[in-house]
Subunit: 309 residues, 2 copies
Protein backbone atom coordinates (compact mmCIF):
# COMPACT_ATOMS: atom_id res chain seq x y z
CA UNK A 1 0.00 0.00 0.00
CA UNK A 2 1.24 3.46 -0.90
CA UNK A 3 2.04 5.62 2.15
CA UNK A 4 1.19 9.29 1.49
CA UNK A 5 2.42 10.67 4.81
CA UNK A 6 5.93 11.58 3.55
CA UNK A 7 4.27 13.94 1.05
CA UNK A 8 3.15 16.19 3.89
CA UNK A 9 6.74 16.23 5.12
CA UNK A 10 7.96 17.42 1.70
CA UNK A 11 9.19 14.16 0.18
CA UNK A 12 9.37 14.88 -3.56
CA UNK A 13 9.72 11.25 -4.59
CA UNK A 14 6.60 10.27 -2.73
CA UNK A 15 4.77 13.18 -4.38
CA UNK A 16 6.00 12.10 -7.83
CA UNK A 17 4.81 8.55 -7.16
CA UNK A 18 1.39 9.79 -6.10
CA UNK A 19 1.07 11.85 -9.29
CA UNK A 20 1.70 8.69 -11.30
CA UNK A 21 -0.93 6.83 -9.28
CA UNK A 22 -3.33 9.69 -10.03
CA UNK A 23 -2.63 9.41 -13.75
CA UNK A 24 -3.42 5.72 -13.54
CA UNK A 25 -6.58 6.48 -11.50
CA UNK A 26 -5.83 3.47 -9.33
CA UNK A 27 -6.96 2.51 -5.84
CA UNK A 28 -3.72 3.79 -4.27
CA UNK A 29 -4.45 7.26 -5.64
CA UNK A 30 -7.98 7.32 -4.26
CA UNK A 31 -6.87 6.16 -0.82
CA UNK A 32 -3.93 8.59 -0.68
CA UNK A 33 -6.08 11.55 -1.76
CA UNK A 34 -8.63 10.63 0.89
CA UNK A 35 -5.87 10.67 3.51
CA UNK A 36 -4.28 13.90 2.23
CA UNK A 37 -7.48 15.88 1.81
CA UNK A 38 -7.63 17.31 5.37
CA UNK A 39 -4.21 18.84 4.69
CA UNK A 40 -5.45 20.84 1.71
CA UNK A 41 -7.20 24.16 1.20
CA UNK A 42 -4.22 26.46 1.64
CA UNK A 43 -2.83 26.68 -1.91
CA UNK A 44 -3.60 29.41 -4.41
CA UNK A 45 -4.66 27.65 -7.64
CA UNK A 46 -3.80 29.72 -10.71
CA UNK A 47 -5.05 28.61 -14.12
CA UNK A 48 -3.00 29.86 -17.06
CA UNK A 49 -4.21 29.55 -20.61
CA UNK A 50 -3.69 30.99 -24.07
CA UNK A 51 -3.74 29.97 -27.70
CA UNK A 52 -0.83 28.05 -29.18
CA UNK A 53 2.05 30.38 -29.98
CA UNK A 54 1.27 32.99 -27.32
CA UNK A 55 4.42 32.18 -25.39
CA UNK A 56 2.65 30.57 -22.47
CA UNK A 57 5.47 28.25 -21.42
CA UNK A 58 8.03 31.05 -21.59
CA UNK A 59 5.81 33.25 -19.46
CA UNK A 60 5.32 30.52 -16.85
CA UNK A 61 9.09 29.97 -16.82
CA UNK A 62 9.65 33.68 -16.17
CA UNK A 63 6.82 33.93 -13.63
CA UNK A 64 8.07 31.07 -11.49
CA UNK A 65 11.36 32.54 -10.21
CA UNK A 66 9.54 35.85 -9.64
CA UNK A 67 6.97 34.10 -7.45
CA UNK A 68 9.83 32.32 -5.66
CA UNK A 69 11.53 35.65 -4.96
CA UNK A 70 8.26 36.94 -3.56
CA UNK A 71 8.40 34.11 -1.04
CA UNK A 72 6.11 31.44 -2.53
CA UNK A 73 6.83 27.84 -3.35
CA UNK A 74 5.53 26.91 -6.79
CA UNK A 75 4.13 23.75 -8.38
CA UNK A 76 3.61 23.78 -12.13
CA UNK A 77 1.10 21.41 -13.67
CA UNK A 78 1.30 21.51 -17.47
CA UNK A 79 -1.87 19.97 -18.85
CA UNK A 80 -1.70 18.91 -22.47
CA UNK A 81 -5.07 17.64 -23.59
CA UNK A 82 -3.86 17.16 -27.14
CA UNK A 83 -1.69 14.13 -26.74
CA UNK A 84 -1.64 11.23 -24.32
CA UNK A 85 1.72 9.92 -25.41
CA UNK A 86 3.91 12.40 -27.11
CA UNK A 87 5.17 15.83 -27.83
CA UNK A 88 4.57 19.16 -26.25
CA UNK A 89 4.12 18.68 -22.56
CA UNK A 90 7.04 16.35 -22.14
CA UNK A 91 9.34 18.39 -24.33
CA UNK A 92 8.43 21.56 -22.45
CA UNK A 93 8.96 19.69 -19.23
CA UNK A 94 12.51 18.81 -20.10
CA UNK A 95 13.38 22.36 -21.13
CA UNK A 96 11.98 23.69 -17.89
CA UNK A 97 13.72 21.13 -15.79
CA UNK A 98 16.95 22.56 -17.10
CA UNK A 99 16.02 26.13 -16.12
CA UNK A 100 14.30 25.56 -12.83
CA UNK A 101 15.89 22.34 -11.60
CA UNK A 102 17.68 22.32 -8.29
CA UNK A 103 15.25 24.63 -6.53
CA UNK A 104 13.47 22.52 -3.90
CA UNK A 105 10.69 25.13 -3.83
CA UNK A 106 9.64 24.31 -7.39
CA UNK A 107 7.96 21.13 -8.62
CA UNK A 108 7.10 20.59 -12.29
CA UNK A 109 4.80 17.95 -13.71
CA UNK A 110 3.12 17.55 -17.03
CA UNK A 111 0.15 15.36 -17.68
CA UNK A 112 -1.54 14.43 -20.89
CA UNK A 113 -3.89 11.69 -19.83
CA UNK A 114 -7.15 11.66 -21.69
CA UNK A 115 -9.83 9.14 -22.33
CA UNK A 116 -13.29 9.31 -20.87
CA UNK A 117 -14.94 12.72 -20.94
CA UNK A 118 -13.85 14.58 -17.86
CA UNK A 119 -10.86 12.30 -17.37
CA UNK A 120 -8.40 15.12 -17.76
CA UNK A 121 -10.37 17.47 -15.52
CA UNK A 122 -10.40 14.82 -12.79
CA UNK A 123 -6.67 14.19 -13.11
CA UNK A 124 -5.97 17.92 -12.96
CA UNK A 125 -8.11 18.41 -9.87
CA UNK A 126 -6.52 15.44 -8.10
CA UNK A 127 -3.00 16.59 -8.91
CA UNK A 128 -3.84 20.05 -7.58
CA UNK A 129 -5.00 18.37 -4.36
CA UNK A 130 -1.70 16.51 -4.13
CA UNK A 131 0.37 19.69 -4.60
CA UNK A 132 -1.82 21.50 -2.09
CA UNK A 133 -1.26 18.80 0.53
CA UNK A 134 2.48 18.89 -0.22
CA UNK A 135 2.44 22.52 0.86
CA UNK A 136 3.03 24.41 -2.40
CA UNK A 137 1.79 27.99 -2.07
CA UNK A 138 1.10 28.62 -5.76
CA UNK A 139 -0.09 25.91 -8.10
CA UNK A 140 0.15 26.98 -11.73
CA UNK A 141 -2.21 24.92 -13.88
CA UNK A 142 -1.24 25.53 -17.48
CA UNK A 143 -3.38 24.43 -20.44
CA UNK A 144 -3.16 24.88 -24.15
CA UNK A 145 -6.52 26.27 -24.82
CA UNK A 146 -9.11 27.93 -26.86
CA UNK A 147 -12.35 26.47 -25.80
CA UNK A 148 -13.55 23.90 -23.33
CA UNK A 149 -10.15 23.44 -21.71
CA UNK A 150 -10.26 27.07 -20.62
CA UNK A 151 -13.68 26.68 -19.14
CA UNK A 152 -12.54 23.58 -17.28
CA UNK A 153 -9.52 25.24 -15.72
CA UNK A 154 -11.68 28.20 -14.79
CA UNK A 155 -13.78 25.85 -12.72
CA UNK A 156 -10.67 24.37 -11.07
CA UNK A 157 -8.65 27.51 -10.37
CA UNK A 158 -9.06 30.42 -7.97
CA UNK A 159 -7.37 32.86 -10.34
CA UNK A 160 -7.40 32.56 -14.14
CA UNK A 161 -4.68 34.24 -16.20
CA UNK A 162 -5.36 34.45 -19.93
CA UNK A 163 -2.41 35.21 -22.21
CA UNK A 164 -2.93 36.94 -25.52
CA UNK A 165 -0.39 37.62 -28.18
CA UNK A 166 -0.54 40.47 -30.68
CA UNK A 167 -3.31 40.11 -33.30
CA UNK A 168 -3.54 36.77 -35.05
CA UNK A 169 -6.64 37.59 -37.04
CA UNK A 170 -10.39 37.82 -36.70
CA UNK A 171 -10.83 34.52 -34.90
CA UNK A 172 -8.77 35.83 -32.01
CA UNK A 173 -10.93 38.92 -31.75
CA UNK A 174 -13.95 36.67 -31.56
CA UNK A 175 -12.45 34.57 -28.82
CA UNK A 176 -11.66 37.57 -26.70
CA UNK A 177 -15.30 38.19 -26.04
CA UNK A 178 -15.58 34.81 -24.33
CA UNK A 179 -12.26 35.13 -22.58
CA UNK A 180 -13.40 38.10 -20.52
CA UNK A 181 -15.93 35.85 -18.85
CA UNK A 182 -13.24 33.61 -17.41
CA UNK A 183 -10.15 35.85 -17.14
CA UNK A 184 -9.21 37.38 -13.80
CA UNK A 185 -5.92 38.65 -15.23
CA UNK A 186 -5.00 39.40 -18.83
CA UNK A 187 -1.44 39.36 -20.10
CA UNK A 188 -0.52 40.59 -23.55
CA UNK A 189 2.73 38.78 -24.17
CA UNK A 190 5.21 39.65 -26.93
CA UNK A 191 4.24 43.25 -26.15
CA UNK A 192 7.25 44.48 -28.15
CA UNK A 193 5.78 43.12 -31.38
CA UNK A 194 3.74 45.00 -33.99
CA UNK A 195 0.01 45.11 -33.29
CA UNK A 196 0.54 44.64 -29.55
CA UNK A 197 -0.95 48.09 -28.98
CA UNK A 198 -4.04 47.12 -31.00
CA UNK A 199 -4.52 44.02 -28.91
CA UNK A 200 -4.17 45.95 -25.66
CA UNK A 201 -6.61 48.57 -26.92
CA UNK A 202 -9.17 45.97 -27.99
CA UNK A 203 -8.93 44.24 -24.61
CA UNK A 204 -9.11 47.56 -22.78
CA UNK A 205 -12.25 48.49 -24.70
CA UNK A 206 -13.86 45.16 -23.78
CA UNK A 207 -12.94 45.50 -20.11
CA UNK A 208 -14.30 49.06 -20.09
CA UNK A 209 -17.63 47.77 -21.36
CA UNK A 210 -18.08 45.54 -18.31
CA UNK A 211 -20.90 46.74 -16.04
CA UNK A 212 -19.86 49.36 -13.48
CA UNK A 213 -20.94 47.19 -10.54
CA UNK A 214 -18.55 44.35 -11.38
CA UNK A 215 -16.32 44.06 -8.33
CA UNK A 216 -13.18 42.86 -10.12
CA UNK A 217 -12.19 43.90 -13.62
CA UNK A 218 -9.20 42.06 -15.09
CA UNK A 219 -6.06 44.20 -15.23
CA UNK A 220 -4.17 44.07 -18.54
CA UNK A 221 -0.46 43.48 -18.11
CA UNK A 222 1.97 43.84 -20.99
CA UNK A 223 4.80 41.35 -20.89
CA UNK A 224 7.81 40.29 -22.93
CA UNK A 225 8.45 36.98 -21.23
CA UNK A 226 11.69 36.28 -23.10
CA UNK A 227 13.17 39.50 -21.61
CA UNK A 228 11.47 39.28 -18.22
CA UNK A 229 9.55 42.51 -18.90
CA UNK A 230 6.28 42.97 -17.05
CA UNK A 231 6.82 39.92 -14.84
CA UNK A 232 7.04 41.92 -11.61
CA UNK A 233 3.73 43.63 -12.49
CA UNK A 234 2.20 40.23 -13.20
CA UNK A 235 3.26 38.88 -9.80
CA UNK A 236 1.76 41.98 -8.19
CA UNK A 237 -1.53 41.43 -10.07
CA UNK A 238 -1.62 37.80 -8.95
CA UNK A 239 -1.27 38.88 -5.32
CA UNK A 240 -3.87 41.63 -5.72
CA UNK A 241 -6.37 39.13 -7.08
CA UNK A 242 -5.66 36.79 -4.17
CA UNK A 243 -6.26 39.66 -1.73
CA UNK A 244 -9.53 40.43 -3.53
CA UNK A 245 -10.62 36.76 -3.32
CA UNK A 246 -10.02 36.71 0.42
CA UNK A 247 -11.51 40.11 1.29
CA UNK A 248 -14.64 39.80 -0.89
CA UNK A 249 -15.57 36.24 0.00
CA UNK A 250 -15.32 35.39 -3.72
CA UNK A 251 -12.49 32.96 -2.98
CA UNK A 252 -14.68 31.01 -0.55
CA UNK A 253 -17.53 31.05 -3.09
CA UNK A 254 -15.28 29.65 -5.84
CA UNK A 255 -13.86 27.00 -3.54
CA UNK A 256 -17.37 25.90 -2.56
CA UNK A 257 -18.44 25.76 -6.23
CA UNK A 258 -15.34 23.77 -7.12
CA UNK A 259 -15.94 21.22 -4.38
CA UNK A 260 -19.67 21.00 -5.16
CA UNK A 261 -18.78 20.20 -8.77
CA UNK A 262 -16.29 17.58 -7.67
CA UNK A 263 -18.82 15.95 -5.35
CA UNK A 264 -21.39 15.88 -8.17
CA UNK A 265 -19.11 14.26 -10.73
CA UNK A 266 -17.85 11.67 -8.25
CA UNK A 267 -21.42 10.85 -7.30
CA UNK A 268 -22.37 10.48 -10.97
CA UNK A 269 -19.52 8.04 -11.55
CA UNK A 270 -20.36 6.01 -8.45
CA UNK A 271 -24.07 5.89 -9.19
CA UNK A 272 -23.52 4.73 -12.78
CA UNK A 273 -21.03 2.08 -11.65
CA UNK A 274 -23.46 0.81 -9.03
CA UNK A 275 -26.30 0.66 -11.53
CA UNK A 276 -24.29 -1.14 -14.22
CA UNK A 277 -23.04 -3.62 -11.63
CA UNK A 278 -26.61 -4.27 -10.52
CA UNK A 279 -27.98 -4.52 -14.06
CA UNK A 280 -25.07 -6.55 -15.37
CA UNK A 281 -22.99 -5.45 -18.36
CA UNK A 282 -25.19 -7.50 -20.66
CA UNK A 283 -28.31 -5.50 -19.89
CA UNK A 284 -26.49 -2.21 -20.36
CA UNK A 285 -25.09 -3.33 -23.71
CA UNK A 286 -28.51 -4.65 -24.74
CA UNK A 287 -29.85 -1.13 -24.20
CA UNK A 288 -27.03 0.27 -26.38
CA UNK A 289 -27.98 -2.19 -29.14
CA UNK A 290 -31.63 -1.16 -28.96
CA UNK A 291 -30.61 2.49 -29.29
CA UNK A 292 -28.35 1.61 -32.24
CA UNK A 293 -31.34 -0.09 -33.89
CA UNK A 294 -33.39 3.07 -33.19
CA UNK A 295 -35.91 1.06 -31.18
CA UNK A 296 -35.18 3.23 -28.13
CA UNK A 297 -33.98 6.81 -27.90
CA UNK A 298 -31.15 7.44 -25.41
CA UNK A 299 -33.27 9.35 -22.90
CA UNK A 300 -36.03 6.73 -22.81
CA UNK A 301 -33.42 4.01 -22.43
CA UNK A 302 -31.75 5.93 -19.59
CA UNK A 303 -35.07 6.45 -17.80
CA UNK A 304 -35.89 2.79 -18.15
CA UNK A 305 -32.51 1.67 -16.76
CA UNK A 306 -32.61 4.28 -13.97
CA UNK A 307 -36.04 3.05 -12.87
CA UNK A 308 -34.43 -0.33 -12.10
CA UNK A 309 -32.84 1.21 -9.03
CA UNK B 1 -46.66 21.39 -26.92
CA UNK B 2 -44.09 21.60 -29.71
CA UNK B 3 -44.93 19.38 -32.71
CA UNK B 4 -41.75 17.97 -34.29
CA UNK B 5 -43.41 16.15 -37.19
CA UNK B 6 -42.99 19.01 -39.71
CA UNK B 7 -39.22 18.69 -39.23
CA UNK B 8 -39.27 15.30 -40.95
CA UNK B 9 -41.14 16.91 -43.83
CA UNK B 10 -38.43 19.54 -44.23
CA UNK B 11 -39.99 22.49 -42.39
CA UNK B 12 -37.04 24.81 -41.68
CA UNK B 13 -38.90 26.97 -39.21
CA UNK B 14 -39.88 24.00 -37.11
CA UNK B 15 -36.25 22.85 -37.18
CA UNK B 16 -35.03 26.29 -36.11
CA UNK B 17 -37.53 26.30 -33.24
CA UNK B 18 -36.37 22.87 -32.10
CA UNK B 19 -32.74 24.03 -32.10
CA UNK B 20 -33.72 26.86 -29.78
CA UNK B 21 -35.54 24.41 -27.50
CA UNK B 22 -32.38 22.29 -27.48
CA UNK B 23 -30.28 25.30 -26.47
CA UNK B 24 -32.69 25.92 -23.60
CA UNK B 25 -32.57 22.20 -22.67
CA UNK B 26 -36.30 22.33 -21.99
CA UNK B 27 -38.95 19.63 -21.84
CA UNK B 28 -40.12 20.33 -25.41
CA UNK B 29 -36.63 19.53 -26.69
CA UNK B 30 -36.46 16.23 -24.80
CA UNK B 31 -39.88 15.14 -26.01
CA UNK B 32 -39.22 16.16 -29.64
CA UNK B 33 -35.85 14.40 -29.72
CA UNK B 34 -37.46 11.28 -28.34
CA UNK B 35 -40.04 11.43 -31.13
CA UNK B 36 -37.47 12.18 -33.84
CA UNK B 37 -34.88 9.61 -32.82
CA UNK B 38 -36.25 6.69 -34.90
CA UNK B 39 -35.80 8.92 -37.97
CA UNK B 40 -32.06 9.31 -37.37
CA UNK B 41 -28.95 7.31 -38.16
CA UNK B 42 -28.58 8.24 -41.81
CA UNK B 43 -26.48 11.41 -41.67
CA UNK B 44 -22.72 11.57 -42.03
CA UNK B 45 -21.42 13.58 -39.06
CA UNK B 46 -18.23 15.44 -39.90
CA UNK B 47 -16.31 17.21 -37.16
CA UNK B 48 -14.11 20.08 -38.32
CA UNK B 49 -11.56 21.69 -36.06
CA UNK B 50 -8.44 23.79 -36.14
CA UNK B 51 -6.67 26.49 -34.16
CA UNK B 52 -7.85 30.11 -34.37
CA UNK B 53 -6.62 31.75 -37.56
CA UNK B 54 -6.38 28.57 -39.66
CA UNK B 55 -9.20 29.71 -41.95
CA UNK B 56 -11.71 27.17 -40.71
CA UNK B 57 -14.83 29.19 -41.48
CA UNK B 58 -13.60 30.04 -44.96
CA UNK B 59 -12.88 26.39 -45.63
CA UNK B 60 -16.32 25.31 -44.45
CA UNK B 61 -17.85 28.02 -46.64
CA UNK B 62 -15.95 26.67 -49.65
CA UNK B 63 -16.63 23.03 -48.81
CA UNK B 64 -20.38 23.46 -48.52
CA UNK B 65 -21.23 24.32 -52.17
CA UNK B 66 -18.85 21.56 -53.29
CA UNK B 67 -20.71 19.02 -51.17
CA UNK B 68 -23.98 20.39 -52.58
CA UNK B 69 -22.71 19.92 -56.13
CA UNK B 70 -21.78 16.35 -55.25
CA UNK B 71 -25.44 15.80 -54.37
CA UNK B 72 -25.54 16.15 -50.59
CA UNK B 73 -27.65 18.43 -48.45
CA UNK B 74 -25.59 20.13 -45.75
CA UNK B 75 -26.22 21.33 -42.23
CA UNK B 76 -23.53 23.43 -40.55
CA UNK B 77 -23.33 23.58 -36.79
CA UNK B 78 -20.79 26.14 -35.65
CA UNK B 79 -19.94 25.46 -32.03
CA UNK B 80 -18.28 28.29 -30.17
CA UNK B 81 -17.36 27.19 -26.68
CA UNK B 82 -15.63 30.47 -25.93
CA UNK B 83 -18.60 32.75 -25.59
CA UNK B 84 -22.20 32.24 -24.57
CA UNK B 85 -23.36 35.69 -25.60
CA UNK B 86 -21.21 37.38 -28.12
CA UNK B 87 -18.84 37.50 -30.96
CA UNK B 88 -17.47 34.94 -33.30
CA UNK B 89 -20.12 32.36 -33.94
CA UNK B 90 -22.88 34.85 -34.55
CA UNK B 91 -20.75 37.13 -36.66
CA UNK B 92 -19.57 34.21 -38.77
CA UNK B 93 -23.16 33.09 -39.03
CA UNK B 94 -24.27 36.34 -40.55
CA UNK B 95 -21.45 36.40 -43.07
CA UNK B 96 -22.28 32.89 -44.12
CA UNK B 97 -25.95 33.52 -44.34
CA UNK B 98 -25.11 36.06 -47.01
CA UNK B 99 -23.06 33.59 -49.06
CA UNK B 100 -25.09 30.44 -48.68
CA UNK B 101 -28.59 31.80 -48.10
CA UNK B 102 -31.37 30.88 -50.45
CA UNK B 103 -30.24 27.28 -50.93
CA UNK B 104 -32.88 25.10 -49.28
CA UNK B 105 -30.34 22.28 -49.13
CA UNK B 106 -28.18 24.19 -46.64
CA UNK B 107 -28.99 24.98 -43.02
CA UNK B 108 -26.65 26.98 -40.79
CA UNK B 109 -26.78 27.29 -37.04
CA UNK B 110 -24.33 28.47 -34.47
CA UNK B 111 -24.46 27.66 -30.80
CA UNK B 112 -22.42 28.93 -27.93
CA UNK B 113 -24.26 27.61 -24.93
CA UNK B 114 -22.06 26.64 -22.06
CA UNK B 115 -22.50 26.15 -18.38
CA UNK B 116 -22.36 22.80 -16.69
CA UNK B 117 -19.51 20.56 -17.75
CA UNK B 118 -20.63 18.61 -20.76
CA UNK B 119 -23.41 21.10 -21.49
CA UNK B 120 -21.99 22.02 -24.85
CA UNK B 121 -21.29 18.43 -25.82
CA UNK B 122 -24.91 17.55 -25.04
CA UNK B 123 -26.26 20.49 -27.06
CA UNK B 124 -24.03 19.56 -30.00
CA UNK B 125 -25.15 15.93 -29.95
CA UNK B 126 -28.82 16.88 -29.72
CA UNK B 127 -28.56 19.38 -32.57
CA UNK B 128 -26.87 16.75 -34.71
CA UNK B 129 -29.80 14.44 -33.96
CA UNK B 130 -32.23 17.16 -35.08
CA UNK B 131 -30.36 17.75 -38.36
CA UNK B 132 -30.16 14.01 -38.94
CA UNK B 133 -33.92 13.61 -38.49
CA UNK B 134 -34.50 16.59 -40.80
CA UNK B 135 -32.74 14.60 -43.52
CA UNK B 136 -29.45 16.45 -43.98
CA UNK B 137 -26.87 14.15 -45.58
CA UNK B 138 -23.76 15.87 -44.23
CA UNK B 139 -23.67 17.56 -40.85
CA UNK B 140 -20.58 19.72 -40.42
CA UNK B 141 -19.82 20.26 -36.75
CA UNK B 142 -17.29 23.04 -36.56
CA UNK B 143 -15.39 23.92 -33.36
CA UNK B 144 -12.65 26.33 -32.49
CA UNK B 145 -10.26 24.04 -30.87
CA UNK B 146 -7.00 23.03 -29.49
CA UNK B 147 -7.69 20.65 -26.72
CA UNK B 148 -10.72 19.11 -25.11
CA UNK B 149 -13.15 20.50 -27.69
CA UNK B 150 -11.41 18.47 -30.36
CA UNK B 151 -11.62 15.34 -28.31
CA UNK B 152 -15.31 15.96 -27.73
CA UNK B 153 -16.15 16.41 -31.39
CA UNK B 154 -14.12 13.33 -32.18
CA UNK B 155 -16.48 11.38 -29.96
CA UNK B 156 -19.53 12.91 -31.67
CA UNK B 157 -18.47 12.72 -35.33
CA UNK B 158 -17.99 9.87 -37.77
CA UNK B 159 -15.26 11.72 -39.66
CA UNK B 160 -12.91 14.28 -38.13
CA UNK B 161 -11.21 16.87 -40.33
CA UNK B 162 -8.36 18.78 -38.71
CA UNK B 163 -7.22 21.98 -40.40
CA UNK B 164 -3.67 23.19 -40.02
CA UNK B 165 -2.19 26.40 -41.26
CA UNK B 166 1.46 26.96 -42.13
CA UNK B 167 3.82 26.93 -39.14
CA UNK B 168 2.86 29.07 -36.17
CA UNK B 169 5.72 27.97 -33.95
CA UNK B 170 6.77 25.18 -31.67
CA UNK B 171 3.46 24.85 -29.86
CA UNK B 172 1.77 23.86 -33.11
CA UNK B 173 4.33 21.16 -33.74
CA UNK B 174 3.59 19.80 -30.32
CA UNK B 175 -0.13 19.75 -30.92
CA UNK B 176 0.22 17.85 -34.15
CA UNK B 177 1.29 14.73 -32.32
CA UNK B 178 -2.05 14.60 -30.53
CA UNK B 179 -4.03 15.60 -33.57
CA UNK B 180 -3.07 12.46 -35.44
CA UNK B 181 -4.95 10.46 -32.86
CA UNK B 182 -8.24 12.13 -33.72
CA UNK B 183 -7.84 13.24 -37.37
CA UNK B 184 -9.34 11.16 -40.16
CA UNK B 185 -8.52 13.87 -42.69
CA UNK B 186 -5.85 16.58 -42.54
CA UNK B 187 -6.11 19.81 -44.49
CA UNK B 188 -3.23 22.26 -44.69
CA UNK B 189 -5.02 25.48 -45.51
CA UNK B 190 -3.33 28.64 -46.80
CA UNK B 191 -1.13 26.24 -48.76
CA UNK B 192 0.12 29.13 -50.88
CA UNK B 193 1.83 30.73 -47.88
CA UNK B 194 5.46 30.43 -46.80
CA UNK B 195 6.21 27.41 -44.59
CA UNK B 196 3.23 25.49 -45.97
CA UNK B 197 5.61 22.91 -47.39
CA UNK B 198 7.23 22.49 -43.98
CA UNK B 199 3.88 21.89 -42.36
CA UNK B 200 2.91 19.34 -44.99
CA UNK B 201 6.26 17.61 -44.61
CA UNK B 202 5.99 17.48 -40.80
CA UNK B 203 2.48 16.03 -41.01
CA UNK B 204 3.57 13.56 -43.70
CA UNK B 205 6.44 12.37 -41.49
CA UNK B 206 4.04 11.85 -38.58
CA UNK B 207 1.54 9.95 -40.71
CA UNK B 208 4.33 7.79 -42.11
CA UNK B 209 5.30 6.83 -38.58
CA UNK B 210 1.90 5.31 -37.90
CA UNK B 211 2.05 1.51 -37.56
CA UNK B 212 1.79 -0.36 -40.86
CA UNK B 213 -1.32 -2.25 -39.74
CA UNK B 214 -3.42 0.89 -39.21
CA UNK B 215 -6.35 0.50 -41.60
CA UNK B 216 -6.89 4.20 -42.30
CA UNK B 217 -4.14 6.78 -42.43
CA UNK B 218 -5.31 10.39 -42.74
CA UNK B 219 -4.70 11.86 -46.19
CA UNK B 220 -3.14 15.32 -46.24
CA UNK B 221 -4.96 17.74 -48.52
CA UNK B 222 -3.51 21.13 -49.40
CA UNK B 223 -6.12 23.85 -49.73
CA UNK B 224 -6.39 27.55 -50.37
CA UNK B 225 -9.95 28.03 -49.23
CA UNK B 226 -10.15 31.66 -50.34
CA UNK B 227 -9.45 30.57 -53.94
CA UNK B 228 -11.34 27.29 -53.82
CA UNK B 229 -8.12 25.32 -54.38
CA UNK B 230 -8.06 21.75 -53.13
CA UNK B 231 -11.76 21.72 -52.27
CA UNK B 232 -12.64 19.05 -54.85
CA UNK B 233 -9.89 16.83 -53.42
CA UNK B 234 -11.25 17.44 -49.93
CA UNK B 235 -14.77 16.39 -50.95
CA UNK B 236 -13.31 13.26 -52.50
CA UNK B 237 -11.41 12.47 -49.29
CA UNK B 238 -14.60 12.94 -47.25
CA UNK B 239 -16.40 10.42 -49.45
CA UNK B 240 -13.48 7.99 -49.34
CA UNK B 241 -13.52 8.07 -45.56
CA UNK B 242 -17.26 7.45 -45.53
CA UNK B 243 -16.78 4.45 -47.84
CA UNK B 244 -14.06 3.17 -45.49
CA UNK B 245 -16.34 3.58 -42.46
CA UNK B 246 -19.07 1.54 -44.15
CA UNK B 247 -16.91 -1.20 -45.63
CA UNK B 248 -14.71 -1.77 -42.57
CA UNK B 249 -17.43 -1.74 -39.95
CA UNK B 250 -15.59 1.14 -38.25
CA UNK B 251 -18.59 3.42 -38.84
CA UNK B 252 -20.87 1.05 -36.94
CA UNK B 253 -18.29 0.77 -34.17
CA UNK B 254 -18.06 4.57 -33.81
CA UNK B 255 -21.82 4.93 -33.86
CA UNK B 256 -22.17 2.32 -31.10
CA UNK B 257 -19.48 4.04 -29.02
CA UNK B 258 -21.17 7.41 -29.51
CA UNK B 259 -24.55 6.09 -28.40
CA UNK B 260 -23.05 4.18 -25.47
CA UNK B 261 -21.45 7.41 -24.29
CA UNK B 262 -24.72 9.29 -24.68
CA UNK B 263 -26.61 6.65 -22.71
CA UNK B 264 -23.98 6.77 -19.94
CA UNK B 265 -24.05 10.55 -19.54
CA UNK B 266 -27.85 10.69 -19.58
CA UNK B 267 -27.96 7.96 -16.96
CA UNK B 268 -25.46 9.84 -14.80
CA UNK B 269 -27.58 12.99 -14.94
CA UNK B 270 -30.78 11.11 -14.13
CA UNK B 271 -29.24 9.14 -11.28
CA UNK B 272 -27.76 12.25 -9.66
CA UNK B 273 -31.06 14.12 -10.00
CA UNK B 274 -32.95 11.24 -8.44
CA UNK B 275 -30.51 11.01 -5.56
CA UNK B 276 -30.50 14.74 -4.81
CA UNK B 277 -34.29 14.77 -4.92
CA UNK B 278 -34.41 11.87 -2.48
CA UNK B 279 -31.77 13.34 -0.16
CA UNK B 280 -33.12 16.86 -0.36
CA UNK B 281 -30.98 19.82 -1.42
CA UNK B 282 -30.13 20.54 2.20
CA UNK B 283 -28.38 17.22 2.72
CA UNK B 284 -26.40 17.61 -0.47
CA UNK B 285 -25.30 21.12 0.50
CA UNK B 286 -24.46 19.92 4.01
CA UNK B 287 -22.06 17.44 2.43
CA UNK B 288 -20.49 20.28 0.39
CA UNK B 289 -19.98 22.28 3.60
CA UNK B 290 -18.32 19.33 5.33
CA UNK B 291 -15.94 18.97 2.36
CA UNK B 292 -15.22 22.70 2.44
CA UNK B 293 -14.36 22.35 6.15
CA UNK B 294 -12.05 19.42 5.20
CA UNK B 295 -14.04 17.11 7.50
CA UNK B 296 -14.85 14.86 4.55
CA UNK B 297 -12.97 14.28 1.32
CA UNK B 298 -15.10 14.36 -1.86
CA UNK B 299 -14.90 10.62 -2.57
CA UNK B 300 -15.86 9.62 0.97
CA UNK B 301 -18.75 12.09 0.85
CA UNK B 302 -19.87 10.69 -2.51
CA UNK B 303 -19.72 7.12 -1.23
CA UNK B 304 -21.71 8.07 1.82
CA UNK B 305 -24.41 9.84 -0.20
CA UNK B 306 -24.52 7.06 -2.81
CA UNK B 307 -25.06 4.47 -0.08
CA UNK B 308 -28.33 6.24 0.75
CA UNK B 309 -29.85 4.76 -2.41
Amino acid sequence: MFDPSPIIAGDRRALARLLTHIENTDAEAAEALRWLFPHTGRAHLIGITGAPGCGKSTLVNALTPALRQAGSTVAILAVDPSSPFTGGALLGDRLRMRDLAGDPGVFIRSTASRGAAGGLARTTADMATAFDAAGYDKILIETVGAGQAEVDIASTAHTVLVIESPGLGDDVQAIKAGILEIADLLAVNKADQPYAENTVRALRASVDMMPANVAWKPPIIQTVATLGQGIAELVQAVEQHLAYLVSSGEGQRRERERLRHELSTRLQDLLLDKLVTRLGDGNFEAAVERILARQWDPLTAAKHLASET
